[in-house]
């Protein structure tokens, strides 16, 4: 490839003295001194998390305390890094939620694998898995960072269920067959 030589222009007197550059730099500094601060003293100060932020995936319960997950395994299927692992199981026939029939025996989210894409939340037909605002995950061992069911519920807490799908189902079952 041909080499193109460019003549470097000689510096002017103003440039050689550096004074205009220093002045313009000081101008920016002075302007920012009187502006409000945007830096946070992390971790003592925490940022405000906007709505729709995708932090740690968590499992939630409905207002009755029923675990919403029915272990349909769609999140496990959709998870791109294969971070989710569910062991499905049948709910005890004696339990209050026996009409739901199915629930997770074990639910693991490997936080070392999770990429916070939110597909699990999007695909969940029961609105049981939510990415919440926790964003800093740490642990001393790898095992500790595979979040188990109890940890996921602890992080998730209770979220209101607008549909009451299973409550309606139970009410219908109790009222019985009009036949």
């Amino acid at each position: 490839m041909a080499i193109k030589k460019i003549e470097r222009k000689p510096l002017t007197l103003a440039e050689k003295s550096y004074l205009p550059q220093i002045a313009s730099g000081l101008k920016i500094t002075l302007k920012n001194i009187f502006r409000p601060t945007v830096t946070l003293q992390y971790p003592e100060e925490r940022p405000e998390i906007p709505e729709g932020y995708r932090g740690v995936p968590t499992l939630v319960k409905d207002p009755n305390g029923r675990e919403k997950c029915v272990s349909c395994q769609l999140c496990e299927f959709v998870c791109p890094p294969k971070a989710i692992r569910i062991t499905p199981g049948e709910l005890d026939e004696e339990s209050e939620n026996a009409h739901v029939e199915k629930g997770p025996k074990e639910f693991e989210v490997n936080m070392l694998r999770c990429i916070y894409c939110g597909f699990c939340q999007e695909v969940c037909p029961e609105e049981a898995i939510w990415l919440q605002d926790t964003f800093s995950v740490s642990g001393y061992t790898r095992e500790e960072l595979v979040y188990k069911k109890d940890k996921l519920y602890e992080l998730g807490g209770t979220l209101p269920d607008d549909h009451h799908k299973w409550d309606k189902k139970k009410a219908a079952e109790n009222s019985g067959n009009p036949h």
Partner: protein, 559 residues
């Protein structure tokens, strides 16, 4: 109409104006399927009687018109025959192909019919796909995506029906999901001859139920789960274990008996979750016995062998000149062939196979428990039918004619050899499970189960059928063909490597005239019918089963 019938006996039917040639009387659902299209249906099943109650397969039907007065064909202006379509739709499953018939499967009217039927079916359906085991292989789900509305106009309360009903030891029923197709009822009545299911009540309250005091407990009950188009009938073994979209299905052959039922082994990440039948119209149609579906549990059984000796230790035992082989008619054709080569290459006194018989059910369980008795005969490992007792081998052990045994996957104590006799000989045991023989053996080599390897069996019809590897074997377990091939190479260094079924077949097809021209890769999933006339004289124990009639000579020989 007769002028339409041509020499080959086929007739012309026009599906959406495309001409299709078929046998007269072909069911329209099957005919449309044969040209790669689909008429949605729930109640129709190719192996059951037609009941025509789901109404999902509605189509428009027409015939070339004829003038009522003259009987002359009516023509369009361009001279083509004028097709007179019936004003109302007809069910495709209840219609048989006739000459000149015109079928519309995609017209606006047909689409509206299907949408209407779907809406009615979904009125009382619980829509609990997230917890339903059928999700992913559910016809209602599939057709709802094609013809469903996406929302419900039904504001009244859905009919409540029994859920979690135990129909039998293996089948669970959820009546709310049932679309009343009656496939299970027809199966129980027509195929399983155990007419225990039926509908009670009327209209939307119709409920599938079992006859009071009875259970759906015949050995074919799980087929009702397979043919259920929705999740109403579920297998209690597979229930809530795994979603079907994770499962990888591998074609395999059931080892339960010499029928050789074609199966699909569904596994995920090396763990088998269920076995379902694979359609083969010459062997098992679309059915399989429940007992065969449970065989996968052997893979993770407590007595499964996964640790043992090394194949390098075996040749020392093969040097004995009082060596006998006990193969197994549960082994594949390839393994028996290599074992036979090994037996010829060493100073073998004799080869034995343990015969096992039972009372078959005249449907898909034959009298011969071994799946590959004919394979052992075909490769020449044995000359005559195996007996249940190895008394000859026992006598040879007692007389000292045999001092070393190579046993493949058989428990000799179950075949009339006592533990004392086993103690008299050195035993090399190849096998999947531990038993009295493996405990008496000096060297135990763990082997793969039928789900962990590939190979072929020859069933009672002399049909060669192949099975493929569904899951990897336990860590440290050598592949059987590799083990045998290495032993053979040790004794006969000139022999090529026969470590895969493909390689073994390249030799087998040359050596055995029956297998002429067959390659393992080229073997179709339905198998190939062999000429078994060379073994016609043998009194095989099988009686009549679904697609098998015993040869007349055999019956006489038994009598």
């Amino acid at each position: 109409m007769s002028e339409e019938q041509k020499d080959d006996g086929l007739i012309s039917v026009f599906i959406d104006d495309e001409e299709v040639r078929c046998k007269p009387g072909t069911n329209l659902v099957d005919l449309v399927a044969s040209v790669g299209q689909e008429i949605p249906h729930y109640c129709y099943h190719p192996k059951l009687s037609v009941s025509g109650n789901c109404r999902m397969c509605l189509i428009e039907l027409g015939m070339p018109g004829r003038d009522r007065a003259t009987g002359e064909p009516m023509l369009n202006e361009d001279g083509t025959p004028k097709i007179m379509f019936f004003p109302n739709p007809a069910i495709a499953c209840g219609t048989k192909a006739g000459p000149g018939m015109h079928v519309r499967t995609k017209s606006e009217m047909v689409k509206k019919c299907r949408e209407g039927v779907m809406e009615f079916l979904l009125i009382n359906h619980p829509l609990d796909c997230p917890i339903c085991d059928q999700a992913g292989e559910c016809k209602l789900q599939e057709f709802a995506t094609d013809y469903g509305k996406g929302y419900s106009r039904f504001v009244e309360q859905k009919v409540v029906k029994p859920k979690r009903t135990v129909l039998g030891p293996r089948v669970m029923l959820d009546d709310e999901r049932c679309v009343l197709c009656s496939r299970c009822i027809r199966f129980s009545k027509e195929i399983a001859n155990d007419d225990v299911l039926g509908f009670v009540d009327r209209g939307s309250y119709s409920t599938l139920t079992c006859y009071p005091g009875k259970q759906l407990e015949n050995n074919y009950s799980l087929n009702t789960v397979d043919i259920c188009p929705v999740g109403a009938l579920t297998s209690r073994d597979f229930r809530f274990k795994m979603r079907v979209w994770f499962l990888k299905e591998t074609p395999s052959i059931c080892t339960e008996s010499s029928v050789g039922v074609n199966t699909l082994v569904a596994s995920r990440e090396g763990k088998i979750y269920r076995i379902t039948p694979r359609r083969n119209d010459d062997v098992n149609d679309t059915w399989m016995p429940d007992s065969g579906r449970m065989l996968y549990k052997e893979v993770e059984a407590d007595n499964r062998l996964s640790e043992g000796g090394n194949i390098e230790q075996v040749p020392a035992y093969l040097e004995s000149d009082k060596l006998a082989y006990v193969g197994s008619a549960k082994a594949s054709v390839e393994e028996l062939y290599l074992l036979n080569r090994l037996s010829r290459a060493t100073k073998s006194v004799a080869n034995y196979v343990v015969g096992r018989t039972q009372e078959g059910d005249e449907l898909l369980i034959s009298n011969d428990v071994n799946p590959n008795t004919r394979g052992a005969l075909s490769v020449g490992f044995i000359e005559s039918l195996p007996g249940a007792e190895l008394s000859e081998l026992g006598a040879k052990i007692d007389s000292g004619d045999v001092d070393t045994l190579v046993v493949y996957n058989e428990d000799l104590t179950a075949a009339g050899i006592s533990v004392e006799q086993l103690a008299k000989v050195k035993i090399v045991y190849f096998g999947t499970a531990s038993n009295a023989t493996s405990e008496a053996a000096e060297l135990v080599i763990p082997t793969q189960s039928v789900f962990e390897k590939e190979g072929t069996f020859i069933n009672q019809q002399f049909r060669l059928q192949k099975f493929l590897e569904a899951t990897p074997g336990p860590a440290g377990v050598a592949e059987d063909l590799v083990s045998f091939s290495r032993l053979l190479n040790h004794i006969e260094p000139d022999t090529g490597k026969l470590e895969t079924a493909e390689a073994v077949w390249s030799e087998l097809s040359k050596e055995v005239s029956m297998f002429d021209g067959i390659t393992f890769g080229g073997l179709s999933p339905e198998g190939v019918q062999l000429d078994g006339s060379a073994f016609k004289h043998l009194p095989f124990c099988e009686g009549k089963t679904l697609h098998y009639e015993p040869a007349v000579e055999t019956v006489e020989a038994e009598a």
